[in-house]
Each structure stands twice: as C-alpha cells, then as structure tokens.
C-alpha cells in the first residue's frame, strides 16, 4: 500500500500531501542506506533484506500513486532484484552492495527531480539501472528450485505471520515469556526515599499494574539497610524494583498509572510485542493457492501491516515541531507563573500549611509536565549515527584506507532540532578523521605499531548537563607545531601569542585553515572545520579537540540538552541580573590585589596560575553605567569564548539555574552582548549574555 493512502481520506491540499510524501519518502530512503550497510556487515541476516524490500516496495507504491514515473520505474527494478535475493537461497554478491548503494543515491536524486518538477534523470540513473538488470539477468541462470520454494515460507516470517513464537530475550531463566495475545513489558521503579510520605507504595503500584495485566516476576534491589534500632519504616529503602508485566494494553495505558510520579522514578520498556494466535484460515489460503505470485501476496499483506502500525499510536502521531515549541513555550510560562506563586512573599506570610502543600504539589506537577513536554522533543542520535556508516564506507573507499567503524551510545537523546543540524558537521568530522587522521596506508600504521586497519569511534554520552558527541580516531594525530606555524604564516596568530594546546588545536577550525598537504575531495577543501565550528556554535555548543601525535585525535562536540532551556549562572552587575551559559564558564573567583595587573593601552589582566587573562567589566561593556569598582572587591568569572579566555567582572555570583530562553523582541534582538532573555522565579527579567560578543580578543 502506498504510504500516502492513510492520509488521503482526510481533506488535505495537494501541497500538504506532497509535503508529507516527501518527508516520509526521505525517511524511507535514509533507512535504505542504513539497512544496506547493516546487511553488508551481517550478510546472513535475511531480515535486513526483507526490511530493505519492504522499504522499496512502499516507496514504489507511493511514487506511482503520485505519478512519479521516473522514480517508480527505477524503484520497480530495484525491488525486483531485492525480491530475488531476499526470497531465494542465492547469496548477495559483494558487488551487489555497491549497486544497491548507488541505487539509493539515484533514488534520492530522482526524488528531488520529481518533487521539483524538473526534467531529466540523475547522472548515474542509466548505469545503475543497467547494473541492476545485469544482476537480474545473472539470477536467471540459477536453479528454479529456489524460486518455487520461496513465497509462502518467506512471507510468514516477513510479516510476523501468526505461527511465529513470541520473541523472548536469550536468557529465558531471567526473562519470562508473555502469553499469546499479550505484550511483555519490563518496568523499573526507582522511587525516591520519600514515596511513603507522598502517599505511594510499591504495593499500590503492583495492585494497579495487576489491573492492567499480570505481573509475572519482580526483582527487588535493596542496599544495606540499618538495623532495627535505626530502621525507619517511613523511609523507602528499595533502590530499584524491576518487574515483568504481560498485558494486552499499550505502554501509554500502563504509563498512566505513574502520572504523578517523577519521570526519573520509573521506566517502561517493551520486551516483546503482542503475538496473536495462529489463524487456521491463513494456513488454508496458503495451501489452496501455492502458485500465486509473490508480489500479489505482498500487496494483500501490506494493508494488514499498515493497519497494525496504525493502531500503534507511537508510530503514527506526527507533530509539527513548531507546535511542540509553542507547547513548550506555554509550559515555560506556566513554570514562571508557578515560581511566582511559590516565591510570593504575601502568600508565604499567610503561613498556611495546607496552602504550602498545595503549592509544593503544584510545583511538582508543573515540573513533571515540563519534563514530559521536553521529552517530546528528544530523539535518540541513533539514526544520525547510523547514517555515518555510509559516510565511513564511501570515504574509506575513496581514500583507499581500511577502516573499522564503531558506534557507542547511540541511544543518547538529543533535542530534535539539534539532531537535524548535527548531521552535516558530524559527516565532516568523520570524513576528516578518515582523510587526515588515519595514516595514508597500512604500512605506515604497521610501522607505528598499530593494526593495519584504522579505528574510528563515534560515541555519544552525557557530560555534566550536556551531550557530548565524540569522534575518535587512532591515526597520526595533529601536528601541533605544523598547525602553529601555518596559523602564524597566515596571520591568524602573531608570534607573541602564547597559546595552550587546546587553543592551538582550535586553530584548525579557523576559516580557511587547512594543513592538508594535498587538498582532497573528501575534506580539506578550505570550507571545512570552520563551518563545523560555526554550525555547532549556532546550536549553542562547542567543539573541543584533543590529540597526541602518533596516537590519534578526539573531536568532541558539546551540545546543550535542548535549545529551549539553558543552564546558566546568574550574576549581578550594577543591580541587574544576567545569565551566563554554564557551558562557557571555566571557574569563578574573587581575586587578590597581587594578581591584578594593568598594561598600558592593553587594559586590565588577572594572573591566573601564571596565565594572563584579560578582564572585561560587564557594566562597561554593556554600558550600564560608568562605575569602576575595585577588581579585588568584585567577582571574576573566567569564561571561554571563541576569541579566547577572558575574566568577566561582576558584582556577585547569585547562583545557578535552568532557565527557559525567551527571544528578545525585534528592537532588542541586535543588542551587542545579549542573546536572549529569561523570566526569573520572582517575575524579574534577566538577560542572557552572548559570551562571544562580549570579548573581541583584541583588547
């Protein structure tokens, strides 16, 4: 069934339908790439071929329903060859993988042409089509037995036919198996110590869960408990309770039970999906019509597949991210209003325990709603990471280097807006690692005592309140001296500049900087890492580089969890509150007189453990007033900016807080040194400082 069929029943404009088609087709095409690479890594996995076939089959239907004949025609041939390999015994020849990947490229380009109503065909259209036809013609020389044996058996597996046993984890001793018609869920309860005070108990949740299904097993984790003397029954000592629940209900329905529990206190994972009982008539159809064409059967089966997915709300609710932003904004307003109530002095003076409890409860629920709305925007980096497999494959072939590519932490979640913008910088860093990082040939690597195959690791993890995405290679490392000399030669730095290792490595991300002896067409085209840096900075993140000559390099992209909230240090200057993004803060201190220096014509400096750091007075740079407080009576905040390190002089450090970023109106948007605003708990407005524009680096 074409992917659009589900939408056509609604009244939508042609443009809307087209937009949905393009979005869904793009998703399908991106997945084709990933499935092909995964299949290349695991050629025995026929399910991957089935996945590929399903994607291409869906795409063909959609393309034809839109009258995209160039796309539909090409995809039809691609589908034929996939069908041959997925359904038969014949193994996929090595060269077929290249043909498949080329076919995906052609599909992408043809889709763009069709959508833009442009004539012509992509450059590789004919050649790839010919290659597909050649693969198809070679199949005809194979035995007929395989073809006859294929259809029914294969489809049973492909579409989750009813005779399959429920999927269970390997360790059947630990993991129970759900009954037919039920899904198996794993729930992990990590309640705080105060749950009994909050009126909850594991017992109550077990009771509610047993109304949703059957609890099969539970594992209770208890750290060392006090002896009876010190034991307090009103304290929850259980750190974790893991339980398995079989239920015919979906995860959303089960999650409702935990509506008033903090999100970090529980998790629900689908272990195995509901498996229906075998339907006798299905078998009968198979036995009565053994010679039907495979394609016909697929056409009949697909609606069932689609229908099953349609029932699954998680798969089908698509929300415009703008609507999520609006929702998040409204929730932000609610948090502000709630904080205002909580901190209101008049309400406090009422001294009513009941009112205090209600406000605390309101606060808890507000935070819960805020974190759930936040979670709506979060998506795993999995898909972006998977896309890198193709990048590595293509890049390694182009420069003729054998690469072992590993991925770690792909389940780490990032704001959807950032995931979309992360792909291009990441592609560049990965290509850069292969092109410039890894040694030119295996001999060089062996001579350096390394394995012949270059290692590239892509990893995501949480670091502080941020997301870190790391590209690590075990190549030759960055030659610090060469970078320094090149920067000097190009006038990026002067001979007097004293730079730390980090700053020297950072120079390679300056515009136009390239140390590549030969400019390759993979990276090093002079529009490289500076674009990476500016793309990441647009996401309020930064790139850190670490390297050791002969051992390799690590590029770490640090990103905030979301663009809608910022973790900030609240500072006071001349009676006004400002927010400094915590990501830029290195340290804060009150300087003593002896470490403060003034250089004629160059301004004020603080000697921080031997490093002379320029001082920037916040009240002066923002032109708040002409006051000139003594530096040793003030607080200095050491900050890292794109122009280097500097110390921001403020009156006081008030605290650290997560704030919802509010854009400034048009009139204030171009204010130098300010990137946005935030409403504080007491209703006051604080401006968020743009660290990079506060310090030019030249004073």
């Amino acid at each position: 069934m074409p992917i659009m069929a589900a939408y056509i029943g609604y009244i939508m404009t042609k443009e809307e339908i087209r937009a949905i088609f393009v979005e869904e087709a793009t998703e399908v095409i991106e997945k084709l790439d990933i499935d092909i690479i995964n299949y290349e890594e695991d050629p025995s996995n026929k399910e991957l071929l089935n996945e590929l076939f399903r994607g291409v089959h869906t795409l063909k239907g959609s393309a034809n329903s839109f009258g995209f004949s160039r796309l539909g025609g090409f995809v039809h041939h691609f589908e034929d060859i996939l069908d041959h390999y997925r359904a038969g015994e014949a193994s996929v020849p090595v060269n077929a993988i290249d043909v498949f990947l080329n076919a995906v490229d052609v599909i992408k380009e043809t889709l763009y042409l069709e959508v833009d109503d442009k004539d012509g065909l992509p450059e590789n259209y004919d050649a790839t089509l010919e290659a597909i036809k050649q693969l198809l013609s070679s199949k005809e020389s194979e035995s007929e037995e395989t073809d006859e044996a294929i259809p029914m058996l294969d489809l049973a597996g492909e579409f989750g036919d009813m005779e399959e046993a429920p999927t269970v984890m390997e360790d059947s001793v630990k993991t129970p198996v759900a009954s037919v018609g039920k899904s198996l869920y794993k729930l992990v309860l990590k309640f705080d110590t105060d749950i009994y005070h909050r009126g909850y108990d594991h017992g109550r949740f077990f009771q509610l869960l047993s109304e949703k299904g059957k609890i099969l097993q539970s594992h209770w984790t208890l750290p060392p408990v006090p002896t009876m003397e010190a034991f307090d029954p009103e304290v929850n000592y259980w750190t974790e309770v893991e339980l398995y629940l079989e239920s015919a209900e979906d995860a959303d329905s089960i999650e409702e039970i935990f509506l008033f529990v903090e999100p970090q206190e529980f998790s629900i994972t689908l272990v195995s999906e509901r498996v229906e009982e075998a339907k006798p008539e299905a078998k009968e159809t198979v036995s009565k019509e053994p010679h039907r064409r495979k394609e016909d059967i697929v056409s009949e089966k697909l609606p069932e597949e689609q229908h099953r997915r349609k029932d699954d709300k998680r798969s089908f609710v698509k929300i415009d991210t703008q609507k999520l932003d609006e929702l998040f904004d409204s929730v932000g307003e609610m948090v502000i209003a709630q904080n205002f109530v909580a901190e209101n002095e008049e309400i406090r003076q009422l001294n009513s325990p009941q009112l205090t409890r209600t406000i605390e409860n309101l606060s808890k629920i507000t935070r819960l709603i805020q974190s759930r709305v936040m979670a709506l925007r979060m998506v795993p980096v999995h898909d972006t990471f998977d896309k890198m497999k193709r990048v590595v494959r293509d890049a390694s072939r182009k420069v003729n280097k054998e690469i072992e590519f590993q991925i770690d932490g792909e389940e780490t979640e990032v704001d959807k807006t950032m995931v979309d913008s992360l792909s291009d910088p990441l592609i560049h860093i990965v290509r850069n690692a292969i092109d410039h990082g890894i040694e030119a040939n295996a001999e060089d690597r062996l001579a350096a005592g390394k394995s012949a195959v270059g290692q590239v690791l892509l990893r995501a993890y949480h670091k502080g309140g941020n997301i870190a995405i790391e590209v690590r290679d075990d190549g030759r490392g960055i030659n610090k001296e060469k970078v320094y000399a090149k920067a000097l030669e190009r006038g990026i730095i002067s001979a007097n500049d004293e730079l730390s290792d980090q700053q020297i490595y950072g120079l390679i991300m300056q515009a136009g900087f390239s140390t590549a002896d030969v400019i390759s067409d993979i990276s090093g085209r002079g529009v490289g890492l500076d674009v990476v840096r500016s793309s990441i900075e647009k996401l309020q993140g930064k790139v850190e580089i670490d390297s050791k000559v002969g051992e390799g390099s690590v590029f770490t992209i640090l990103l905030p969890l979301t663009l809608a909230i910022i973790d900030g240090m609240i500072v006071e200057s001349s009676g006004d509150m400002f927010i400094v993004p915590t990501l830029s803060v290195i340290e804060s201190f009150i300087p003593t007189k002896d470490i403060i220096h003034t250089a004629r014509g160059k301004g004020e400096f603080v000697d921080l453990r031997g490093e002379m750091i320029p001082i920037v007075r916040l009240n002066e740079v923002l032109q708040i007033n002409d006051k000139h407080p003594e530096i040793h009576d003030s607080t200095l905040l050491c900050l890292e900016s794109e122009n280097g390190k500097f110390a921001l002089l403020i009156d006081d450090l008030v605290g650290r807080q997560q704030v919802v970023i509010k854009p400034l109106g048009k009139a204030l948007a171009k204010l130098e040194g300010i990137s946005g605003g935030a409403i504080m708990g007491n209703g006051d407005i604080a401006l968020i400082l743009n660290i990079d524009s506060l310090f030019s680096g030249k004073n």
Binding site: D201, Q207, S210, Q217, S218, L222, P233, Y237
Partner: protein
C-alpha cells in the same frame, strides 16, 4: 500479626501503619523471636516497607528464620515470583 511462642506470624496485607506498629512490637521482643512466618493469603502485599523491615530484622538478628527472604525467592499468586537482590 500474632506471636506463637517464638514464632512471629505476619500477614502480607499489612499497610504502612501496621508495619510501623510491627516495628514497635518486634523491637523489644527480637531477642526471643526465632522465626517470622507468613500466614494468610499469599496473593499480594500491601506495603514494600514490610519487606525492607524483614531485612532489617535479619540484619539485627542474623540467626532468625524468615523463609520469605531466606529462600531468595517466593511466589505470590497475583504478583508472580519475587526475587531479592540484597547486599548487606
């Protein structure tokens, strides 16, 4: 909750209030309680505080017999098998 000689008999449907009462009852008598047994329905439990307290009792008097925690696993008709992971 009853005490039969040196055997304390408890029920699994004790709520938090009853567990608090149980603590007050057991503490001064712990010296001569040899065993804690579950009586009544074994279908469900009311409060997890009861289980934690049984482990606390065991820690206070390691020789006491408490089958539902000593065996490492016990079964509840409504809630399946219950497994303990406890390092003390």
């Amino acid at each position: 909750m009853t005490i039969d000689g040196d055997v304390l008999e408890i029920e699994l449907d004790m709520d938090l209030g009853e567990v608090m009462k149980l603590k007050k009852f057991v503490e001064p008598r712990l010296e001569y309680i040899e065993s804690i047994e579950v009586i009544g329905a074994r279908d469900r439990f009311a409060s997890s505080a009861l289980f934690a307290m049984l482990f606390s009792i065991k820690k206070s008097k390691p020789e006491i017999r408490i089958p539902i925690i000593d065996d490492g696993v016990f079964n509840l008709a409504d809630y399946g098998s219950v497994h303990w992971i406890h390092n003390d």
